[in-house]
Every structure is written in C-alpha cells, then in structure tokens.
C-alpha cells in the first residue's frame, strides 16, 4: 500500500478546477495549494501499479502541467511484488 507525496503544478488560472479534479480522484488527498499553481497532494493507493496509473493519468490531464513526486513509501511492498 504505497504512499506518495506529490506536487502538482497547474496554470494559476486552472488552480481551482485542478484542485477540484484532484479531490475527486480516488486515492488522492489534497493538502494545500498556493496562488502559483502548486497543489500539495498525497497519493494513497492499494498497489504500486495503481499509484503508477494515477501518476500517469494526472500527469496527462489537460489541467495539469506536471506532477512531481517528492516522497514514496512502499514499506508494504517487497521487491518484485506488486502488492495485494
């Protein structure tokens, strides 16, 4: 059950819509934002694969310019396994 800390960057004018979009995503918690378009979120998914898919989908969302990981905890996962 990995947990990731992520900074999502969006255009300032898209901030509200992007924040709303992120809050509606399963496995995403929005923790804060600023007027530059930074949004601090935490990913909490049941598998690493789900985390990867979430990261990918958000990175490709039209409202998102970049999603950058800063922290990843995967203590429940072992090498070569994908989790429950």
């Amino acid at each position: 059950m990995p947990i990731g800390g992520v900074v999502v960057s969006t255009r300032p004018e898209d901030l509200a819509a992007a924040r709303e979009m992120l809050a509606a995503c399963a496995g995403v918690e929005v923790h804060g934002a600023d007027d530059k378009g930074h949004i601090v979120v935490v990913f909490d998914t049941s598998t690493g694969e789900e985390m990867e898919r979430l990261m990918r989908d958000i990175n490709r969302h039209p409202l998102v310019l970049h999603a950058g990981l800063t922290y990843l905890d995967m203590e429940d996962l072992q090498a070569g396994e994908e989790g429950p």
Partner: protein, 796 residues
Amino acid sequence: MAQTRRDFLKRTAALSAASFVGIQLPFTAADLARAADGEQWHRGTCRLCGVGCRLELGVRNGAPFALRGVAEARTNYGYLCMKGMHFWKCMGHPDRLTKPLYRAKKSEPFKEISWDQALDIAADRFAAAVRDHGGKAVAYYGSGQCLTEETYLFQKIMRGGLKSNNVEGNPRLCMASAVGGYLTSFGADEPIGGYSDLEQAHCFFIIGSNTAEAHPVLFRRIMRRKLDNPEVKVINADPRVSQTSRIADKHLQFKPGTDLSLLNAMARVIVDEKLHDEKFIADYAVFRQGKEGKAVTFAEYAQSLAPYTPEAAARTCGGNITADDIRQVARWVATSKGTVSLWCMGINQRKQGVWANNLIHNLHILTGQLMKDGADSLSLTGQPNACGGVREAGGLCHILPGHRPVEKEPMRRQVEDAWGVPAGRIPAEPGLHTMALFTAINEGTVKAVWVNCTSPAQSLPNCDLYNQGLAGDGCFVVCTDIFKTRTTEYANLILPTAFHFEKTGVYGCTERRSQLTRKAVNAPGEARPEVWIACEWAKRLAVKLDDPVIAQCVKPFEGLEADYALPRAIWDEYTQKLTKGRDNDLRGATYPVLERMADGVQWPAPTEAFALTGGTVKKFVKGRDPMADSESKNDLPYQFYGPAHEDRKLWVWLRPQADPSEIPDADYPFYLSTGRIIDHWHTMSMTGRVPELLRANPYAFVEVNPGDAAKLGIKPGDMVEIKSRRGVNVLPAKVYEGPMEGMVFAYWHDQEETRMINRVTKDDYDPASKEPEFKICAVQVKRVSGPKPLKPFIVA
C-alpha cells in the same frame, strides 16, 4: 488523538511535498507523533537518467522501504520522477543474478561455478587472446551507468595492463556527438553552465529532446520558470509533437534530417538583422571551415549562410514551419536576456551529429549567450555517468583519463607515470570505436570482449548484423550485470554484480557534477562490486601472462575492502594523479567532501576548500572558475583554457545542410525515428522488471500520424509491419498526432524479438564522432492485421 502508522506516513509525504514549494500545512513535523524507529536514510543519486537527482533511500532491517528527494540538492530540489522512484525494486529482485554462470560453448546451457573458477576462466581467455594475437584482440565495452571508479579501473587494466586501447562504452551511442561538438566549438568537453541557468533563462530552445519524458525533473524546472514568468519563451523544435511541446510558445516540426538548415537559417536571421554581439565575437570567437578547420572571416561565414534564407529553409524543413517562424525564434534566441538551448539524442544520434551540435553552439557564440547566468548551450545526457565515468575517466577508445587524447604522446606519458608503468605501455593509436569493435567481432579479430552493465545485442543499430559475431564461438564474451539481458544470451561467462546502493562510488551527471552514493544494503547472493571483480581478474591476468606490469595496475588497491576503501582509493588515484591541472580538475572532490555535500561538486574544483562551495557553476569565468583565473592570459573576463583550442577561442563553424544517411524513397517511403517512453529506460532490463512500469507500457508500439494511418488503413491497435533494408518489426499502432506525416516513431526498449526496433535502424555513423544515426532511416509501413493480444517479454 492516536495517530496510525498510515496517518503518519501520509503526513510525512504531505510535508515532504509542501516543503519544496513553501506551502504551510496545518500540521508540522513536530506534530508527527511516531518516531521513525530503526529507520536509516542513505543519501545517493538516482540510478537512471543523466539528470543526477539526489535522493535518500530509506532502509529498515537491511531492506529498502522508502525513497525521498533531497530538497537542498541543486539537481532536483527534492523532486523525483515515478521511474526513478522505482529503481529500488531491482534490489533483492528474484531475477537478480547471484552466482557466476559459465558455458564453454554458446550452444551449451549455463552452469553455476565459483568465483575462483569464473575469474580464472576470464583471465585464461583474455590472456590467451593477448598472448596469441596482442592487445588488439581483446576489448572492454562499458557503460554510462558504471561508477567512475569501475570505468577508470577497467580502462587502466586494459590500457596499462593488456596494452589495449579497445576501451569503449555505450556513451558512444548517445553522447559522442556532444563531445565532438563541445571540443570543436568550445575547445573543451562538457557544458559551460548547468541547471542553475534554467531558473534564470528568458528563452529555452529545446531541439531533438523530449525533455518531459526523458528528463522529467528538469522539465519541471523549465515549466516552472515559464509559469512563473509568462514572458519567458519556450521553443520546441522536433519532427514529433511530444509532451515537451505542451509548454512551447512555438513548436517547429521539421522533416527529419533538415535540422542543419533550420539552425543555419536562424544564424542567417541573426546576422542579417545584426542581432549578433560584435564585441563578444571580436574578443572571443573565430570562424572555421572544413575538416582541417581552416580559418575564415566573419564575412565569409555570413556568405556561407546565403543559401539559408528563412524561406528556403522553411521549404527544406517542411512540416509546419514558415519563414516567419524561423525569424521569430531566431530573434527570441538572440535577444532574450538569457537563452538556454537543450538537446539530446535527436541531435546527437545523427550522421551529422557533431555538425548539428556545432550549429547550436554557433547561435550562442554569435549572440554571446554564454558564460552569463541564464545562458548556456546545454547538452542533456541520458545516462547517470556517461559524463563522469566515460567522458572524464577514459572510457572511450580515443581518450585517457582527464580528457587526454590517446594519440598525444605527452598525454600517454603522464598517465603511464601516474600508474607507474613503463613508458610506451599504452598503445599510441586509439582503439576500436564501438561500431568498429563489433565489426571486428564479426570478422573474428577480437577474440574476447568484456561487456559491463549494458546490452549491445539490443542497443546497437542494425543489431542483427552485429549479433552474428557475438553469437559465434570465435569471440569469448564476459557479461557483468545484475540481470540477464539480450546480451547475456551471447555470453560465455556471466558475472553477477552489485547494484546501486549495494556498492560505493561516484556518478557525474550532465552539468559537470560528481556525486557519491555509498553502500546502504547488501547485494544478493554472491553478487560483487565490479571494482573487486576487476582487481581479482587483473591479478590472475598478471600470473597467466607472467607480466608484473599488469599486477602493478592493481597493486595500489591490494587488500582493501571492496565496499568503501577500494572505490575510495581508486577515486583518489584518478582524481589526485590524473585530473590535476586538467580542465576536469577534481582534486577537491574527495570522498569526505562529497559526503558532506548534499549535491556533490561541479568541476573544476582543484581544492577541497573550493569544492566545499559546490565547485564551478560557470566554466571559463574569472572569479567564478578558479582555472579561469589560474590559466588567465589577458585582461578579458572569460578565459577558454580547454585543451582542444590552442588559440583559446570559441569557434564558429561553417556547416552546410547534408542529408542523413538514408532518406525515404519509392521503396521505403517513410522516415523511422526512435526514442524513449517515460516508463522505461534503455533496454528495460531494470524497468521491465518493475511490475508497475511494465504494466503501464508492457510492449513497444509505433506511433503513426492520423493522416498516414488513414491512407494506409491503419486503426489504433492494429498490428503494423515496420520494415527497413536491414530488418523488420511488427508493432501495435498508436494513431497519434505526434510524428509528422511521412514519419513513424517507435520506442526502443522492448526486448521481444519482433519488437526490437534496433533490428530495423541503420548503423551508419557520424564520421567524426562515430555515433550512429539511430534517429533516421527509411522504412516501409504496412498494416498486417487487426489488434492482437500481446505479452510483455523479458529475457529469463
């Protein structure tokens, strides 16, 4: 209120992210009630691309459990990409090689043997080849992923011990043209500036690089600069629209192989509109032409640009480019307060790769967009240690450690003296470059090759041709690696190695920055660090060839434990003895200094005191680069002390448009280009074993422009045959407004034999850099069926 472990981790993750952007959260680190008992964080560098992101590996009970970025690191400021976040999964992976494997003939199955047996066999076969045929009959083929200590030690044994300059590595396939460009334009390899320019630039010219997918952490910095300063211009020039294009003010989609025209046309606009910096040119630049570098005048240079009117170049380049586009981007590049150009394989992997590099540098020299903050001509690298290990420490056939050309006798003498081996021990002629090496293996003149941490059987262009030699029993093949690959299928001897964070050593990234990673976890089974393997091999070689000089090559390292003392001693020898007074002076970047620095040291860094400031941010600038001061010859603020230009000038080159090696014709009507996808790295021997990454992209596909797809009856997911004069692939189609019409684009990571695109690519190469033209060849494109279920494939 009681806090669960999961709450603690989530808050830790949120605080980590928030700290990088200065956002205050309603809780602080002090509120996190649970202490991190038994956790250790080990600082190091990411294993994958050339950005050099600093991170910390969390280890508990001897096993990794978390990664976090290092906020104060100037490479990444704490950010990491998803691919990088997963490299830890190679540690302890069930596919890891854990015992030496051997077979006398390649038709036989492998059997497990002991290290003693393995090292004896490796020494026997290399010794026999040298005894019977001389040093030219053996070769080392390394990697931009090896630690500097590893590359340095192997090349020392090969050159000083076995009297062979057949020392090569996969950076020949990716960075050799950038080396040639820097040497011929600036007189010195590697960039003048670095990443710090990104936050100060006012214009980005990104050509031949999908930075967003290949270097996502740097792309974030560019994107952030643009977002915070909307007046900053971003130009993206590429035959393919990519994720990088998203932030571009102007995307120039040019026909493959017409980049030289585009760049010359931009130079012409600069000259015609008098946007060049006359004083800068007068003080620092000269103009050169032809193979001999004949001096010409500015007027002659300007005259050479006459054919490249924006209108003519727009016609040559095709795509969406107009003459006004060329004028506009040339003005942006020339007149911004600071322009940074960035490029990668789209420029380097060309038959005119050095020329294309020169023409980018020309734009910067003409306009003085160099040496000042926010301006640089910055070649991105694809591997974590192509610069530090291979370019700087002697990992190519023509260069000795410390950027010393092999063919210069005084340079060879300096190295021989440092090593304590007799004068004349290092052969006077450069060895075989990569394509010549694998040709020689085909021809049977190289009898034994050591392949370290790379997979040429998949990564060479036109690989079927070169795999013939590797497959035969005429060449004894040793592979050192952590996993089986397409190349281990051709090995006689497979030696299991320690992975990143399972050993200690230095990586040097794109921006002249050396960073140390110390061992944090044990390697599995009997996997060993390469430096230990090389030392043990050399000792046996010395006995078998009865040659004390070979023993001398590793004598300084005898008896040192392999996890720290041995790599440190190797690093000390290299930096203290062989970078002194060279442009990559690393004497100040000792292990103790590197251990203190969050993000390593940029060379030149001649003293520890200077290295502790971070080193040289801008080369050649007095007051900022200690060598610019110590090597100063006049009162000018910039001093070009690089080893390749005795006149200490920047050279503007006259380079005409020239066609790529193969252009589409009636029989093979499409361009093929290849590249990387965000989830996979190189030949996917690592990323293909990470389930999350593999499932995100389980196999390669080919991108087809919707216009071409309509003409060819190709629908999304259809199986499409891509056939060249050399080979064929069958790949699922992605119909996508990415490649321009008349061009298809395929990813090169897939190991499955019908999807290995380097069976199709062309093996012609740049005559100067010897780097192959992976990026352009001519192919047929044909729908063969509807969608088919495909399975991912990894060599077992």
